[in-house]
């Protein structure tokens, strides 16, 4: 498994610190900064952060980071506790399997699709469990467009992230 080879020789305290910082920054960006500047809080900044960390740090770290990030969204939002954690965990695992080592556009497309899929799944599962039904209002384009922008901005950071944690 070449995809997980990035996880070898990781200096763990630094990886944990970096992941925690990235998650908190992504969380603040999505829930506070985006609404403050007039953009939709449905833009999945935090899930994009999880996907990139999954690629940079491997499956194990991706799962843990995704779980923690999703749980943070759950606890501070109106959704059901655990839904975000589950989606984040699966996203972290899935994105660790994406091969973007050389800049191939297919890799970026996968990251985009996984991130948008995770955000859509998070919204859909919460809607179904709370009985409010599926609703694709203004949030749809925020998820699709927002995850594309986030992917393009965050994906190039995977190399610096690896460099920091080694």
């Amino acid at each position: 498994m070449t995809a997980v080879s990035g996880a070898t020789h990781v200096y763990w305290p630094r990886a944990v610190g970096l992941s925690a910082t990235a998650v908190v920054l992504g969380f603040l960006c999505q829930t506070a900064i985006l609404p403050a500047v007039g953009l939709s809080a449905a833009i999945p900044v935090l899930f994009s952060v999880v996907a990139v960390l999954g690629i940079a740090l491997g499956r194990n770290s991706g799962a843990i980071t995704g779980f923690a990030a999703g749980l943070l969204l759950d606890v501070t939002g109106v959704g059901v506790l655990g839904v975000g954690a589950l989606v984040g965990c699966l996203l972290g695992v899935a994105s660790a399997g994406i091969r973007v080592d050389r800049w191939r556009w297919s890799g970026a497309v996968y990251v985009w699709a996984y991130t948008a899929g995770a955000a859509a799944a998070y919204a859909a599962v919460n809607s179904l469990i709370t009985g409010s039904g599926l609703m694709w209002s203004s949030g749809f384009w925020a998820i699709v467009g927002g995850s594309l922008v986030c992917t393009l901005v965050l994906l190039p950071l995977r190399a610096p992230i690896r460099a920091v944690v080694r």
Binding site: M1, V4, V24, F27, L28, C29, T31, A32, I33, P35, A36, V37, G38, S40, A41, A42, G58, R59, N60, A63, I64, F67, G70, L71, L72, L73, D74, V75, T76, G77, V78, G79, V80, L81, G82, V83, A85, L86, C89, L90, V93, Y122, A123, A124, N126, S127, I129, T130, S132, G133, L134, M135, W136, S137, S138, G139
Partner: protein
């Protein structure tokens, strides 16, 4: 490999357990504790980045009670007499899956309680759904889980207004199938008997169109008093004086 797989399986099991626990218990202790930490961070981030956005914030020193009162003054004008209010500022938004809620930076230490009415300039925009010491979550009228008793003026017909997700108009259902309601009429709150609930006669919105073939009663679309995506300073009615 096995270790990674075990970690993933444990985390998935933990997520599923959390979902079941939350659906059964609905305990807010953990949420409150985390919001005590995240709300100040969100508030700082909002304050730093707000000048970049369209939310014109006149009051830079918002921690100053006088500045807060001044910003809230245009809401206070429309608020009913004899009620105590706490002015708060939106520090975060959650609009996942059509849901519509915002976090404000006042909480139980300012007298805010669950069920309190929340006003923006123009009228009622939601109700408090969660409270911690220094933060509270406002369930907006556009949230699908929000239902509020209303009267349509001038006929005073009673009904219920419910949300259909962020960015969509509200749905109103009037109890009387023979009610005479028309586009342009005002929808105002029915009022709750609780001393800290929604006072009567607050403007909720204006009817924009009537459903042609209602199943029971009369259904109509209602435009809320203000845009829910640009909320800034809000007034919480904490209770009768």
């Amino acid at each position: 490999m096995t270790r990674a797989r075990n970690t993933v399986l444990v985390l998935i099991a933990a997520s599923l357990a959390l979902i079941l626990w939350d659906l059964r218990a609905s305990d807010t202790t953990v949420r409150d504790a985390v919001q005590e930490v995240t709300a100040p961070l969100q508030r700082t981030a909002t304050a730093v980045f707000a000048p970049l956005g369209s939310w014109a914030r006149q009051a830079q020193g918002f921690d100053d009670p006088a500045a807060r009162a001044q910003t809230a003054s245009q809401i206070v004008v429309a608020a009913p007499d004899g009620w105590n209010g706490a002015a708060g500022r939106v520090v975060a938004a959650d609009i996942s899956g059509g849901r519509a809620a915002v976090t404000i930076d006042v909480g139980s230490s300012d007298g805010v309680g669950i069920g309190n009415a929340v006003l923006a300039p123009g009228g009622l925009i939601g109700q408090i759904s969660q409270v911690s010491q220094h933060a509270a979550m406002v369930l907006l009228v556009t949230d699908p889980q929000s239902t509020i008793g209303i009267r349509v003026l001038p006929s005073k017909e009673m009904g219920v207004v419910s949300g259909s997700g962020m960015g969509n108009e509200l749905q109103v259902e009037v109890l009387n199938p023979a009610a005479q309601i028309a586009a342009g009429q005002q929808v105002r709150s029915l009022g709750s008997t609780a001393a800290d609930g929604i006072p009567p006669d607050l403007l909720v919105g204006q009817i924009t169109s009537i459903d042609p073939a209602p199943a029971s009663g009369r259904a109509a679309q209602v435009r809320p008093v203000t845009s829910m995506t640009s909320l800034d300073t809000l007034l919480v009615l904490t209770g009768r004086r």
